[in-house]
Amino acid sequence: MLTPHQQDLLHRELDGETTPEESIEARNLMAAQPEALEFMTSLRDLDALFHSVPRHASPPGLRQRIYGDISSKPGRSRRPGRAGGSAQSVTSWISQHWDGVRNLTEELMQTKKVLVGAAAAIAVIAVIGHFVVGYPPSIRDAGTIGAGTIGASDSITGVQQAGRYQGRTMTEADVTLSNPEVQALFQDDKILKLVQSDVFRTVMRDESFRALQSNAAYQALQSSADYKALQSNAEFKALQSNAEFKALQSNADFKALQSNADFKALQSNAAFKALQSNADFKALQSNAEYQALQSNAAYQALQSNAAYQALQTNAAWQALQSNAAYQTLAASQTFRALARDQAASEAFLTQAMRAQQ
């Protein structure tokens, strides 16, 4: 029977809240007491279960409604059917949808066929902006100038077209070189060379890569200092290209171990035995950064993620992992956001090929 202190220690070890000394104490406890290992395994299973729950995209229109709230009087733009509110003043409408209109005009400008329409739209907006709210709308004047009303916003084509840019789906229009963050990425020669390479293009088009971008555990891991340090660790790089280690990664027993810590089963596994005698692996085992990573809850959850497992056996992915430019790119929030979406990924790759080194 585990004492309350021992249980407390294992809970904190799971949460990464132990000191190095306590962490050693926890590991010793698990090695000495099967009950402690079983307890820890159940906690890890629970944690892994949480991490396997997908993150949901926020509902379409929610961002737009919040924007309406913050740019006008609170509660003015509640969700239809729940809190009412239909008529909006012209100034409020302009303020709430300004970015959407701007995005729309940018897209229109990209298509010569509708250039005339874009010019007309800009002219109309400019006139409204000049005579009604001024340009650009600011927080100080938002909602303060009453200038008549327009009917239900659903009846306005412009609102519908602009509104889609507030949603989750990204298009090439969102990944234009006019986006300062994407532009900054492309201005880095190493990153540009990387994103134009075949290996990168193969990985970015991989469905599991996109799935991984939405994985909370993976996101947490990407920003983990331990993980970054490990990726640059020479011993870990050597291990990644080690044939026996690769074999182990796709070994079913090893995968099972990653999620249930059934260490005894692993002892009888041939691939694992081979790995145990591998010099690189031995060095890695005593590497402090690797040890820290192994007790990282996000890393453990990621190991049991199907998309991550699929990518681990992808040769192109393995090559990317040790690439410094990729590590910089992966740390970019903009890149992570667009990499979750197939259309945006394609747009990004297209833009990358057009960019000049």
Binding site: H56, R63, I66, R79, R82, I139, S223, A225
Partner: protein
């Protein structure tokens, strides 16, 4: 603190300042940076899409209404997170009862989601709704959002010691709830 997180926090602070200086688009960008995470917190707390949507909108509305009082020495993320959790807890209090079991878990699954993920969402979602709101809150913060004890303590306004005992107890209860449901 991790450099990436620190850089992200600095970006938040800059956006807050730009919004306070009158740049409306900075507010929208700030919302965009945190919307998905706050919506998912509310969704896990409430188990209902409509309520989660309302709570998220309310939390951001409250946060921006009080943005003038925001102290930039603290993380904006922690600030909006606390408001989202509190708004969720208030909604649960208004419901008066701990909603549980049959048919109350109302989160539609994405068609593109893997079967195992759908199953996990259903299992965890239903089991979470059987717990008391305070227990649910610490589990959501720790396991879905990987917040530290200190961050959970800040968000809930309770001592770290309370966070630990509540979290450890909540885990046991959740494990039991999952076992009961399986049985």
């Amino acid at each position: 603190m991790d450099e990436a997180i620190a850089a992200s926090d600095d970006m938040d602070r800059a956006l807050v300042q730009r919004f306070l200086d009158g740049e409306l688009a900075a507010g929208d960008e700030l919302v965009g940076r945190h919307l998905s995470r706050m919506y998912n917190v509310a969704l896990r707390m409430l188990g209902n899409v409509e309520d989660a949507e309302d709570v998220t909108q309310t939390a951001f509305g409250n946060a921006f209404a009080a943005l003038g009082t925001y102290d930039p020495k603290y993380r904006f993320f922690s600030w909006i997170y606390r408001m989202t959790v509190n708004a969720s807890l208030n909604t649960l209090k208004r419901r008066r009862n701990v909603v549980s079991l049959d048919g109350k878990f109302d989160v539609p699954m994405s068609g593109a989601t893997a079967e195992s993920a759908v199953e996990a969402e259903d299992r965890v979602g239903r089991a979470l709704l059987e717990l008391k709101p305070d227990d649910r809150a610490v589990l959501v913060m720790r396991h879905f959002d990987a917040l530290s004890y200190e961050e959970i303590s800040d968000a809930l306004g309770v001592p770290v010691k309370t966070v630990k005992s509540r979290l450890f107890t909540a885990r046991q209860r959740l494990r039991q709830a999952l076992l009961d449901r399986r049985a």
